[in-house]
Subunit: 226 residues, 2 copies
DNA sequence: TTTCCGTTGATAGTATTACTATCATTTGCC
DNA sequence: GGCAAATGATAGTAATACTATCAACGGAAA
C-alpha cells in the first residue's frame, strides 16, 4: 500500500512535523499519550521523556499543547475527508454518496496502512473525547482567523453538498451535517460513559446502531427514501 | 416573585454553597468571571481576590474549580428541568409538552427573578462554551458514580418521556433528546464563532431559527405532525 | 577542507497554578 | 462566658507552561 501524506494548514505548526524525523516522532508518540492520559494530563515534559528528546525541541514544532491537539484533530478530519472523497467519487447517486459518508463517519476506525506513523484507532478515541476542546476556548476567533479549523469546515462542506444534491430545498444542510458529525462522537462517548443518555449502550454493535440512528434522523429531515 | 432554591446533589460541593453567605458569594461571583475569562483562564486565586476572600475559604466549598463548574452547569440543567415541568404539567397533549420543552431549551435565556444571585444570561453562555468539559475528562466514570451528572440525566429522561408518549415505537428517544440538547448549544456557538458551519448565522433571529431546526429534525424523526 | 547554518540537546530559570497546612480571629448560640 | 464552627491570613510545595541561552553535531556550500 502506498504511503501517503495529508497536507494540512501551515499555521497548525511552527515547523511541519511531517518534514523531519523528530516531527514524526512527536506525532507518533503524542497520539497514544493523549489517548491514555487525556489532554489535561498530557504535557510536553512527559512527551519529551517518552520520546527521549527535550521540551525545547518540541516547542520548536508546536507553540503549545493546544496547537498540537488541533493539529492531530485536523489530521483526523482531513483523513476522513480524503476517505469520503475516495469512496464516493465513483458513485452516481447523491443519496448513495451521503450514505457512504455517514458510514465512514460512524464506523469504528481501524489502522490505515497508508499512514504507518498514525494510530487511527487511538486518534479516533482522542477525537471522541477531546475534539470539542479545540474550539471551546477564548481564542477561538483568533484561531479561526488563522485557519486552524479549515479541515473540519471542508469536511462539513463536502457532506453538506451531498445533502443539497439530495434535497436542494432543505434549509439547514450545514447545521444538519455538523449535528451529525458531533453526534457521531458524542453518542459513542455516552454509550461508554453515561449509558443512560443513549440507546446505543444497549446495542450489541453500538457503532452500527449509531449509524442507523444518524442515518434515520438525517434521511427523515431531508425526506429521503431510506 | 417568590425566591426559590434548587436542590442539587450533595456530592457537587463539600459544603452547600446555598447555605451560607460566603457560599452564595462564590456562586454569584464565579458566574460572571467564568463567562468573561473562560474556564481555563478562571482560577480560585482570581475569584478570591474578586470576592474579597481567600483561596482557602473557597476550597472549603469546592474541591477544585472543575467541581465548581459541574455545580454551575448542574444548577442550569436543574433550572431548565424545573421550568419545563412548571410550564408543561398543565398541558394535555404530549406533543405540546415536547414543543414547549424544545422552546425552553432553545430560547435565549433572560434573568429569572426567582434566583436573584444567579445571572442566567451569563450562565447560559457558560453552558454553551463549557458544559461539555464537565464530562469530557478522564475522571468521568468516578464523577458519574458520585452522581454529578444526575441533573442532566433527569432533564434528558423527562423530555425523552414526551418523545415516547408521542411515538412509543421510536427506537432512540434518549439519543434524540441528548442530540437536541447538545445541538441547541453547539449551533449557537457555531453561529457566533464558526459561522460557515451553520445556517443559523445567516438568520436575523438565530435562537428562533435554532428552535425551528431542532423541532424539524425531532418531529421528522418521530413522524409527528409539525 | 573549511566554514557555516540549521537542527537538536542540555540546562537553567520564571511566573503561575492548584493545591495543602497551620494557626489566628471572628461569630453565633447554648 | 465559653465553645465550636466558619473564615481569614499566611506560608509552602510540586507541577505546569513556558522562555532563554549556549553547546554540539551534521550536512551543504564555498
Amino acid at each position: 500500500m502506498t504511503v501517503l501524506q495529508l497536507r494540512l494548514n501551515d499555521n497548525l505548526s511552527l515547523k511541519d512535523p511531517q518534514s523531519t524525523e523528530l516531527g514524526e516522532k512527536i506525532i507518533k508518540h503524542s497520539i497514544p499519550m493523549i489517548d491514555q492520559l487525556g489532554f489535561e494530563g498530557f504535557t510536553f515534559k512527559k512527551l519529551s521523556i517518552e520520546m527521549e528528546s527535550t521540551e525545547a525541541s518540541i516547542y520548536r514544532y508546536f507553540e503549545n499543547k493546544h496547537r498540537l491537539l488541533v493539529y492531530l484533530i485536523s489530521w483526523y478530519w482531513a483523513w476522513l475527508d480524503y476517505r469520503i472523497e475516495y469512496e464516493t467519487h465513483h458513485l452516481k447517486n447523491s443519496l448513495q454518496k451521503l450514505d457512504r459518508a455517514l458510514k465512514l463517519i460512524t464506523e469504528k476506525k481501524i489502522q490505515d496502512n497508508s499512514f504507518p506513523d498514525i494510530d487511527e484507532e487511538a486518534l479516533a478515541r482522542i477525537v471522541v473525547a477531546e475534539s470539542d476542546k479545540i474550539y471551546l476556548t477564548k481564542q477561538v476567533d483568533e484561531d479561526n482567523k488563522e485557519g486552524l479549523f479549515r479541515g473540519y469546515k471542508s469536511l462539513c462542506k463536502n457532506i453538506a453538498r451531498f445533502v443539497k444534491e439530495v434535497n436542494p430545498d432543505y434549509p439547514f444542510p450545514h447545521a444538519l451535517v455538523t449535528t451529525a458529525l458531533e453526534t457521531a462522537n458524542q453518542q459513542i462517548f455516552f454509550a461508554e460513559h453515561l449509558p443512560s443518555l443513549t440507546e446505543l449502550s444497549e446495542a450489541s454493535d453500538p457503532y452500527g446502531r449509531n449509524y442507523e440512528f444518524i442515518r434515520s434522523f438525517i434521511y427523515n429531515s431531508i425526506n429521503a427514501e431510506g
